[in-house]
Symmetry: C2
Subunit: 330 residues, 2 copies
């Protein structure tokens, strides 16, 4: 399989999720900011883990989750991200390659352990994430496989990469390589606090370097510091080719120049854990886009994948997304 035939190359943090149930009192006692992602150091991660309930380990990482879901849809994906040569790194590598995904970055050997994200899932299925980036923070421009990026239809980047200078440079290099080859660049804004940290950079990126933008309501409102979703939507509509704006149970809104598509959310039997809903949405959307479906169909494919993700603990798909999407969209 030549590198030039990937549908999507994802670039992001390589993370193993450590997921536990928690009640609201526990979130408060631990001083956590509900529903967001916070970066923590190794020491804080160890302290928090000590105070966390029994957990389950599942491979995660935002862009990695998207590529995993893309593979479950039948897409051809590759992933670039750094793990360590430890047991958690072996788990991450296994889980992504077992899906037929090419895992491109060399593992770090510097002794920094593989990154992990402590996820506290409250009874309302909301997730509160505390991330120790570990080895994934060691991503540099040298890790960007230019042939793979230049050959892929879409290069998909997570906003979280912007939290580290070297990863930011890797991000820039990947975006330039993709565009120089006439390919598409997609970005997920990741988290409203991540947008807060990098607002000016993200605005410039969206205006000049991003073809397909994924953001939820909080993120797009934060990006433009607007007071309403509609006002933020008016700002973004001429900044990139496609903006796919997700609104949880209200579905998603796709804007592309003068076109606006409002698409309902897919039905879900029971919302168990919202971890990875946005990542899965991006996978469905991008997969349909590479198959040249219209934008409303891309949004429905995204919604179907998001509905699967929130029906169970963990972000990675537990059912064949190809089957689910074929059943509903044909």
């Amino acid at each position: 399989m030549p590198a030039s035939h990937h549908d999507v190359v994802g670039i992001g943090n390589a993370i193993v999720d450590v997921i536990a149930h928690a009640d609201d009192a526990e979130i408060e006692r631990l001083g956590l900011s509900r529903g967001t992602m916070t970066l923590i150091d190794a020491e804080t991660a160890a302290l928090l883990y000590d105070r966390m309930g029994p957990a389950v380990e599942v491979s995660g990482g935002s862009a990695a989750n998207t590529i995993a879901a893309l593979a479950s849809l039948g897409g051809d994906g590759a992933f670039i991200g750094k793990v360590s040569s430890d047991q958690l790194g072996a788990i991450f590598r296994h889980d992504i390659t077992a899906l037929g995904i090419r895992f491109l970055a060399e593992p770090g050997h510097g002794g920094t352990p593989t990154g992990r994200c402590l996820i506290f899932v409250t009874p309302d299925a909301q997730r509160t994430m505390q991330t120790f980036l570990g080895a994934s923070a060691e991503l540099t421009p040298a890790d960007i496989d230019e042939a793979a990026v230049a050959g892929a239809r879409i290069t998909y980047l997570e906003g979280y990469l912007w939290d580290r200078p070297a990863a930011k440079e890797a991000f820039r290099k990947a975006a330039k390589t993709a565009h120089d080859a006439g390919r598409l660049v997609a970005l997920s804004l990741s988290d409203p606090f991540c947008v807060d940290r990098h607002r000016a950079d993200f605005r410039a990126l969206v205006e000049h370097h991003v073809d397909v933008l994924f953001a939820n309501e909080d993120e797009i409102v934060s990006l433009y510091q607007e007071h309403s979703f509609d006002a933020a939507l008016q700002q973004v509509r001429h900044h990139c080719w496609i903006a796919a704006l997700t609104r949880s149970e209200k579905g998603s809104v796709i804007v592309s120049n003068d076109a606006v598509h409002v698409v309902d959310a897919e039905p879900v039997a029971a919302v168990v854990d919202t971890t990875g809903a946005g990542d899965a949405y991006a996978a469905g959307f991008l997969f349909a886009l590479t198959r040249e479906r219209d934008l409303a169909t891309c949004a429905r494919a995204g919604g179907i994948c998001a509905a699967e993700a929130i029906g169970h603990m963990g972000a990675r798909p537990e059912a064949s997304l190809a089957r689910l999407v074929t059943e509903r969209l044909g």
Copy 2:
């Protein structure tokens, strides 16, 4: 908390489960024996893992699962088993101590990694287990905390320990220590193939050293090489104080000298993964026994815990068993 007040001390293999979905064709292609536990070496574990689909990691181990469920019931438990000082060992330690369980054995430092069990769950919710014992095989009599065992109401041993000579000696030491202190010894037969490997030893144990025996239909039939469950039941009824014989959807049968209690299975909404059903049953039964409930109530408590275990992936409880049992039994 003095060591003398544990309800149950569990002794067994300290294992992290690696759980993946698999279809029947995959089980056949890999040459696995459906529904049983097979011991494998490190090399085979690595080969099988390479061929396994994306997985989820959850702490496991038969007796450890039982003690985890006992803690969820509100019981006071301790666990003796060996992990390594690696990342999987840290996960096992975290998950058991986060439940308030005392974890008594010192970790091994010899370089043997923490044991793991590759579990393939087929669409019928049956599990096929391939276990690399790793550090858990290094349990020796020196790891048996005599004060804890002598002080606990019940010492609970898994039959799997019998697969290694040093662990077998640890088992014997624990049983003797418990009996010398006037305490109860409980045993789970673990697996029909484990019974095949050690039939004569297990018969002698049941006759002379075990007060409370847990076995499923296949195991008790294998122990006595009988052709029917009823014939095996007649054999075991005078060999130990209590035999709790589980029969999956047919519930369980408790025999104690002349008394026989036939107890229905508890209702389950959807059977997802039968891993740990027997371990959870033993927890419910032993917890009720330490609370001096009658045998039929002990069996119902066991059934309630087993029903919770088979409703989700993984063996460890995801809901508060104390609440479930109180709701149904008062």
